[in-house]
Amino acid sequence: MNDRTIALQETARKLRIAVVKTLHKSQSGHTGGSLSAIDLITALYFHKMRHDPASPAWEGRDRFVLCKGHAAPALYVALAESGYFPPEDLMMLRRLGSHLQGHPDSKSTPGVEVPTGSLGQGLSMAVGMALGLKLDQKRNRVYALLGDGELQEGQVWEAAMSAAHYRLDNLCAMVDANGLQIDGEVEKVMNVAPIADKFRAFGWHALEIDGHDMTAILNALERAEMAEGQPTVIVARTVKGKGVSFFENKASYHGVPPSDEELPRALECLGHS
């Protein structure tokens, strides 16, 4: 493991702490799926993506679409840490008048490209971005982060079909496969496995990794860039609630914020005193 990877792991830890504090303050929002996505989002915002927080509309930027929009807190802490807006704003999450809406809203928040939250719609928008950028012969890349439960939406597969049809090798989808959704295990609610095979059958270049292994994430993102003529999906096995032992692998923490009593214990798990 090199210094870069260690630094990114430390950033991810900081972001998890910010997620817990933000959700404790708002007392509303999605804890489990925000924490499972943090390592993937960290790798994108603090390593892979070209972007300029001082100029959110910079033409040369790569695009990110948080298809699983309920993990908005994970995106917001990354945007705040990057410098798109002051970290204090996080404490206003989900409040009336706040620019931080319950689910990502491109009209409100600097750095948010398109609104998401209604599951299944994000990948189509990412496909449109990739198509438009290719049309202009631009080299910008498009990243989309989906949930595994979200793959139950039929529109995801319409989008998957079209991305391969139009040979969108500038598109990289990541699946935060934490195995849980609101009603329980994805496998039991409506099985989506085998995810990578499904995408391969749709014409995608598919990789499977441990979504909390920073080295593996960076390698996969690198390999995605080398794919020619087809989009890449990185199926990242993750743990819902990752980093806070008593949140981990619990569907019951899907949409529940940390309570007053849980906050200090959660922060302790994340090495925050």
């Binding site: 009209k107 189509s124 990412a126 971005m129 438009g132 049309l135």
Partner: protein, 312 residues
């Protein structure tokens, strides 16, 4: 009424013309490009046309993504699919972020004909009108369609344009200026006003001719932009003629009739009647037969207006 042209044909030609002058214009279709006439654009600009297959939800989302990187996407399919199948994509991915997407739906209303009730959208205007940030336009003829398509291309934000399958008489002069949100008085009158949209405007003009022979002076106000409604023009008609008959090739629930009723009820209530499809689905038949079957004829419009005037 010199010529007849289907509004969808006027769309195809206009889109192709616009494409020549603006590289940002792209078109998407869901396997109906021959019918919606985006095929004309596709032939001229194959690199900027995307057939998305029979997958309307993804098509609308893809258009929103294209808009977010600076393109001006025109999305077409039949009205029933653009509004029905892809409603939530239109709401979440297009209207919510005010994406610069133009949804041009063809085969609106019952004049789709033989395909029957499954393919005849009688509620699309109501559905689109209820979505915030959405502009809703129903042109009356080919000339107005050209104007509406051109206006939509320069307008920033989502627009829904509803077109028809069949040829309709041209009622506007070729140089008719089109402005989003502006209705127009096509015929003066003092006893009653027809407030109409789409192909019903031509029917209302005929109805006004019948009524004139009976000594009833009927005004005809054409409303292409159902939302935002030209409030001043409709209120002026209500004040000056004291009776309103709306007409549309659409359900009487929530469309132009609904919009006018809402406006009048709050601002200047006058006796009114809504001519349209009376809360039911369409059915198979020839377009002309269906217009008669659903009472969307000059005769029925004249009867409705006469009765309203006499009951005052």
């Amino acid at each position: 009424m010199s010529s007849m042209i289907a509004t969808r044909d006027a769309y195809g030609e206009t889109l192709a013309e616009l494409g020549a002058g603006n590289d940002a214009i792209v078109a998407l279709d869901a396997d109906l490009s021959g019918s919606t006439k985006t095929g004309v654009f596709a032939k001229k600009f194959p690199g900027r046309f995307f057939n998305m297959g029979i997958a309307e939800a993804n098509m609308v989302g893809t258009a929103a993504g294209l808009a977010s990187v600076g393109k001006i996407p025109f999305v077409s399919t039949f009205a029933i699919f653009a509004v029905g199948r892809a409603w939530e994509q239109v709401r979440q991915s297009v209207a919510y972020p005010k994406a610069n997407v133009k949804i041009v739906a063809t085969h609106g209303g019952v004049t789709v004909g033989e395909d029957g009730g499954s393919h005849q959208s009688v509620e699309d205007i109501a559905i689109m009108r209820a979505v915030p940030n959405m502009t809703v336009i129903v042109p009356a003829d080919g000339v107005e369609t050209r104007g509406a398509i051109r206006a939509a291309a320069t307008f920033k934000g989502p627009v829904y344009i509803r077109l028809g399958r069949n040829k309709v008489p041209t009622i506007f002069p070729q140089d008719h200026p089109f402005e989003i949100g502006k209705g127009c008085e096509l015929r003066p009158g003092s006893d009653v006003t027809f407030v109409t949209t789409g192909l019903m405007t031509a029917q209302a003009l005929e109805a006004a001719d019948f009524l004139e022979k009976e000594g009833i002076s009927a005004r005809v106000v054409h409303i292409a932009t159902v939302k935002p409604l030209d409030r001043e023009l409709v209120l002026k008609a209500a004040r000056e003629t004291g009776a309103i008959v709306t007409a549309e090739e659409h359900s009487i629930v929530g469309g132009l009739g609904g919009a006018v009723a809402e406006l009048l009820a709050e601002n200047h209530p006058v006796p009114m009647r809504r001519v349209g499809i009376r809360d039911r689905f369409g059915t198979s038949g020839k377009a002309e037969e269906l217009l008669k079957y659903f009472g969307l004829t000059p005769e029925h419009l004249a009867d409705t207006a006469r009765e309203l005037v006499q009951s005052r």
